[in-house]
Each structure stands twice: as structure tokens, then as C-alpha cells.
Symmetry: C2
Subunit: 318 residues, 2 copies
DNA sequence: CTGAAAGCGCTTACAG
DNA sequence: CTGAAAGCGCTTACAG
């Protein structure tokens, strides 16, 4: 068994209460006593028992993180940001990486059982109401990370409008006049449109699925620039475009989103809009901690950044 | 506050002890009483308090997972396997994804503080002795996942010897006679060599870093096949080879390792040795649970599998 | 400045 | 088959 407060108290001929107070830095304990206690705690490698402490304080110093998947996405870096910020605050991070809705339920159940002080969500939860109702009922603080929530919870997210404006603005500054824009994310699309309108250019053609692009490019041969939903989608768009015999960037310029590690591979070299992934994670955990500590917080928008590589160029004059 | 055992007991006019027994399925409680208790617990959405329970049982039903990084690696899938198996056993998974050694220390400290019942390691720990000494002293079970340990802890790992044999065997069966083999992982290399020797072929040229390949390929122009340490390294090798004006697979065949998601992109199409990533994670957690429950376990080797794509072909006759 | 006491929610012998 | 009691390790009023 490991060392307990009682044991420390016995060895030093003080009461357990004094030990507890001293270890928690309470100023009511005399400096000398306190120093003696801390020294022995160090020497015996005392680690406070989280159960005893939690039973009393009703705080677990545990946070839960739920994400759909981390493979080929940027949630791996977000999770690192969350985890490191959590660790710095002496918080443990319980992670549930899963997409199947019944497994999400199981994860949230575990979060509740383990008494997490708060939850960070990187997936929407509309589909999994049952367990989240319990979360709400228990008033467990929640922060949305890289997703927004309609239910009024605070969130951290990249300023997608600005990102969209950056993407279309870049294409326009290169001389592109007719764009095709992915409409999966409405704020990014709004940003795209804002840049287009500001320059009095023709309405972009919208698409949801990259597989619709062959028909679109055929119908509108004046399209020379495409804004993608993500770098992952940009890969698929690249394949579709190339399968039509068109070259990137000579015939078609593509701007991705996210700035994933693979985007700088020489096979891809995507111009893209970088999201500050790790910072998003750090901010989310920071906000959750503040929420846990009863502070009022407001949602945050993070700055996107244009990264120019080789998938964009001025359009060929035809 | 949420519902407690006491509250249930009060409402049903039984003792807290009876409620506890019933909820834990103890056969000493009369069927009728037990049913009544369970029904009310369900109705009031009773969740046992993990602190009270843990204080008593000395079990947290928490496991820790430590990995260096998850970006562009396959540890994301391993983590999913671990997490899902943990959840199925009602275990929470505390993750520490970090590479800096002082942060590893911080993570392990948190694992200890949160009273994890066991730890799964996907990184070697020789460099971070201090905290792990504490883990050993507390006799917290550890399982190594996708790494082996010299200290005698159980591990799960792909059968790297077999994987190496598969990789070189594939090249040989295509007609390659002179190979270059990455020597980062000694078992994979041993497998490479085993296949080569079995066919009485010339000794492969060994390399550690892909940047040594230009010199090697120049010195030994008979090399037509390369076994890489990983798919990630295969990307770098591809770039190096192509920068020498050589084509893949016409001039040089490359076999990767891991079978990452990106390996099937049409820009890469790597022939590779697949590791059963999720199964490795599941096995690791399974083993940890058995260890926690006092069972004896033995290390496990998982089966690798050859996946043939477009980075390998018969060598050109020159 | 320090100690004795109660209590957080649970489990587990021990009576009956 | 059920209840009363003790105790896990900690914190926190309350005395003194």
C-alpha cells in the first residue's frame, strides 16, 4: 500500500488534518510544521489518493474527450493540445474515439461513471440524445471543439468565414474569375462568396460531393479555381480533375483546408488554409477548466492562415 | 446531487448494504428485493460513485495509455482498439500522447494520481526512469503495445520476423536478386535476411537512413528492390529514388510496412506489409485486463499480411 | 497554530 | 435473507 496522510501524521506526531492542510498550502499551518510535512511527503513519495480526495471535493480532475475518429484527420493534434493543457493543470484526459453511436453512448456513460468534471466534444451529438441528457441533467460542463453547437454551449472553432474568404481571395488575386466552391461548411462558403462578391465576379458554382465535379466542369468550362472543404477532399478532387485530363495547377487551381501533414508531400503540395490545430485543443481545455471553476466564458474563433504551395497558379489564358 | 445508495435504501426501506449487494448481483439478496432495488435504480438513473467504490475496492477501472505521437502513425488505430476494448469492460482510458520526456513524466504522474489499474505503453521508457520506478514500486501492471520491453513486461507486437520475410520474399518471387534493406528494426531485417538466404541470393545492402540510398544505389547498381521500415519511410525513399531519375516500380521496387491509409492513394499505391493495428490495440487491453485480474499472461505476436499494390514489379532486364 | 470529529459513498465482514 | 457498523483516505468546519 502507498503512503497515506495518516501515516505521515503518525510519523510526525501531528494530526492528519494538519498534514492535509499543510500539503494543500493552507496558510494556517506554521511554516516550520508545513516544511517538515512537505519534506517527509516528498521523501516517502506521497501521492494523494484521488478517491478520498474526490469523495470529499466532488471533483475528479478528469476530463472527457469525445471525437469521431482521428485517422487521417486533424483531431490527433487537437487531442494533443487538449491533453497537454489538461496535464499541465493536473487533469487526466479520458478519451473516447469512436464513431458508432452506440459506442458513443457507452463512452459517455463511462465519462459519467468516472465523474469527469467536464467534457470536450469534437463530434455533434444530436444523434445520441439519451446519454447527453444525463450529462445535461448532471450539469457537467461541456465545450465544443472544432464544431459549433446549437444548444448554446461554448465552442472553439477556426474562423471559417475568414478562412473561406482567404481561400477564394487567394484564387481571385491570382486572376481566377469563375470558381467552384464546396458548400459543405456554410461559413466557409459564406467567406468564399464574400470574396467573390467584393470583386464583382460571377457567382461560384456550388458542389457538395466531389463526384459531381465532372458534370460541373463540363457545363461550366470557365471554372478555373476550386475551394475544397478539406485537404482530404482536395485529394479526391485532384483525382477527379486529373481523371478528366486536366492538369493542376495549369488548368485547375485547388485550395484545400486544414493544412494536414500530407499536404506538403511533393505528390500533393496543396495550397491550403491552415487551422491552428493544437491551439484549438489548448483553448478548448482552457475554456473547460474555466467553466469547471465556475467562470463565465465566451466562445472563441481562431485565426486561419493561407499557406501557398503548388496546387494554385494564375489561370491559363485560353 | 445525483442519487446515492443511501437514497435508494431510504425510499425502499431497506439498508444501504442490501442495496449495494443487490446492485452487485450478490445472490444473498432475495430475488424480489433485488428486483425492486434494480428497478428503482434504473428509474432514478442511479450511477455508482466511482470514488466511494474505488476507495473501498482500490480499483479505479481506469487504464492509462502512453504513446509518442499519433500523427501520421498507426497509433491512432491502436488507440481505438484499446479504447473500445476498455469501454466494453467498463474501463475508462486515460491517454497521454506526447513525446517530450518531461511531459511523459507528467503523464505518468497523472496516471499514478488517478490510480490507474494498469498502463499500456507504445513508447519505450528507458529514458524516463524516475516516474516508471514509481510505477514498478506500486506494482501497477504494464503491457507494451507494438514495442518490446527488455524488462520482462508482456507485450503485443506484430511478428516482425515474419513480416520481414514476407516483404523480401515478395521481391524475390518477382525476380529481384539484389536487395537493399532497412535495418532500423532488427527482427524485420532478420526476416529479410532469412528470405534472401533461403534463396541463396547475394547479401542485401543495409541502410538505416533513406538519405544514404543515393550513394548505395550508385555503388551497387544491381539493387532493384528495397524493403522500407515503414510506409512513412517508403514515401521518403520514393522521393529519393525519383530524385535520382529512377522510376518506381520499373527501376526500383519498394515494399513498405504498416499499410497506412495513405498507402493506397493513387499517388503512392505502396505494396506493403499490413499490421493488424486495431487488433493489436484490442489484444493489449485484453491482456492488461487479465493482468489486472491477477491472471498469468504471455506475450503475443500478431500476423502481418502482404498487400500488393503498384510499388513493386518484376525487375527490368538490363 | 493544531487537533478531534464528522462525513463524502461505497463495500464487506459480522450478527442475527 | 437483511441490518448495523466499521472503514477506505481525504477535507473541512469547529473547538481550543
Amino acid at each position: 500500500m502507498s503512503v497515506t496522510i495518516k501515516e505521515l501524521a503518525r510519523r510526525l506526531n501531528v494530526s492528519p488534518a494538519t498534514v492535509s492542510l499543510a500539503l494543500n498550502g493552507d496558510c494556517r499551518v506554521a511554516g516550520e510544521t508545513s516544511a517538515k510535512i512537505k519534506a517527509l511527503a516528498d521523501e516517502l513519495d506521497y501521492v494523494p489518493n484521488n478517491f478520498g480526495r474526490g469523495l470529499q471535493s466532488r471533483k475528479s480532475r478528469l476530463a472527457g474527450y469525445l471525437a469521431g475518429s482521428v485517422t487521417g484527420s486533424f483531431f490527433d493534434l487537437i487531442m494533443q493540445g487538449i491533453g497537454e493543457t489538461a496535464a499541465a493543470a493536473d487533469y487526466g484526459l479520458l478519451t473516447g474515439i469512436t464513431r458508432a453511436s452506440e459506442k458513443i453512448d457507452a463512452q459517455v456513460k463511462i465519462f459519467i461513471e468516472k465523474n469527469v468534471d467536464g467534457i470536450i466534444l469534437s463530434s455533434t451529438y444530436s444523434a445520441h440524445i439519451e446519454q447527453f441528457e444525463k450529462v445535461e441533467r448532471r450539469k457537467i460542463p461541456m465545450v465544443f471543439c472544432s464544431t459549433q453547437d446549437s444548444g448554446g454551449h461554448p465552442f472553439v472553432i477556426t474562423d471559417n468565414f475568414k478562412g473561406g474568404r482567404l481561400a477564394a481571395g487567394h484564387l481571385i488575386s491570382l486572376g481566377h474569375r469563375q470558381l467552384a466552391c464546396c458548400c459543405i461548411e456554410k461559413d466557409r462558403l459564406a467567406g468564399n462568396l464574400d470574396a467573390v462578391h467584393q470583386h464583382n465576379l460571377p457567382e461560384p458554382v456550388l458542389f457538395f460531393d466531389e463526384n459531381d465535379l465532372p458534370a460541373i466542369l463540363k457545363a461550366s468550362p470557365s471554372i478555373t479555381g476550386i475551394t475544397a472543404y478539406s485537404d482530404t477532399q482536395a485529394i479526391k478532387i485532384k483525382h477527379v480533375v486529373e481523371s478528366l485530363g486536366l492538369r493542376i495547377p495549369e488548368d485547375i487551381s485547388i485550395v484545400g483546408f486544414d493544412d494536414m501533414w500530407f499536404s506538403e508531400l511533393q505528390e500533393l503540395r496543396f495550397t491550403t488554409i491552415a487551422q491552428p490545430k493544437k491551439e484549438i485543443g489548448q483553448a478548448a481545455m482552457q475554456m473547460l477548466l474555466e467553466l469547471i471553476n465556475g467562470k463565465n466564458i465566451t466562445s472563441r474563433f481562431m485565426e486561419p492562415e493561407l499557406v501557398v504551395r503548388k496546387s494554385t497558379a494564375p489561370p491559363l489564358i485560353r
